[in-house]
Symmetry: C2
Subunit: 174 residues, 2 copies
């Protein structure tokens, strides 16, 4: 399954850490790319590229100044658009259907999401109807789409790799 | 299953948003309480209490100025201490064992976690060995511990409740 993530409405400074977390969660949990929209804060791309360089795998982070065009293009290219929102249909009802798709693009908002996103999206899905965190919601969506297989993903060409330990830390320098 | 979360090493200002997200994720995904450690920022407790009041359910948020004592107390009270760390054993290997426990306390770090935490913890577990987000890792751990049942949790005495929609938003005022 090919997975893209689109982060909407980034605000410089205020969202620096959460957008970085959304990006790194996308990478760690099996997405192939993230496209950042809203205000442009190049520091995030640098941070995520540097992590990809050291920790391996193929992951692309880019910026788009036109989110609507980017959403439409993804749809035209055969991606199913899944908008993560607490107002949508429960992930546990939709997961099976989504697992059969070849290309999925998950849309994650920061500030208030424009109503058109709800219209353009093929699915509006919720991870509980409770207020919590877009990073947590994204993690559960990625996990459900890939049935947990993302947890065993290998990251090629890594310079650093952790060897799991019961106690303590072990990092290989490759 | 009774689930507590302990947030270690909060830093005023810098971690305001992530600690709030960790707290709200704990609440939304089925934990019973969170105990905040590190620097004290009462605004977080107010925010989370106000959300619990409006969105329902029983969820407790408290502050402890002595994390070590708090960890030891949980252990003494029969909680299995699970430390979320990228250096630990993969969640997918440990999940089955943890699902049989009656009381689990998940420890989530902010800044660098003291080495004693790795020693005190009954399990150090990782959600991938990749750098990403403590909120995402917590979400996956809560999801795996409860086998996805947390997504259907009912929140009693709610003043607000979302009715899931294919498009748009519907919130009931109860």
């Amino acid at each position: 399954m090919q997975i893209s993530v689109i982060r909407l409405g980034h605000r410089v400074g205020r969202d620096l850490r959460t957008t970085t977390h959304v990006s790194l969660t996308s990478r760690a949990l099996g997405a192939n790319e993230i496209i950042l929209c809203g205000e442009h804060e190049p520091q995030i791309e640098k941070t995520v590229q540097s992590i990809t360089e050291r920790w391996g795998g193929e992951f692309y982070i880019t910026y788009s100044s036109n989110w609507k065009k980017t959403l439409r293009e993804k749809q035209k290219n055969g991606f199913t658009l899944v908008h993560s929102t607490m107002y949508g249909e429960p992930i546990q009802k939709i997961a099976k259907k989504l697992q059969t798709k070849r290309k999925i693009c998950i849309v994650v908002g920061a500030e208030k999401v424009p109503w058109e996103v709800y219209q353009i999206a093929d699915y509006n899905i919720s991870v509980t109807g409770q207020p919590h965190s877009e990073t947590a919601a994204l993690a559960i969506i990625l996990h459900e789409l890939q049935k947990g297989k993302e947890l065993r993903k290998k990251f090629s060409n890594a310079k650093l790799r952790i060897v799991p330990q019961k106690k303590g830390k072990k990092v290989l320098q490759l």
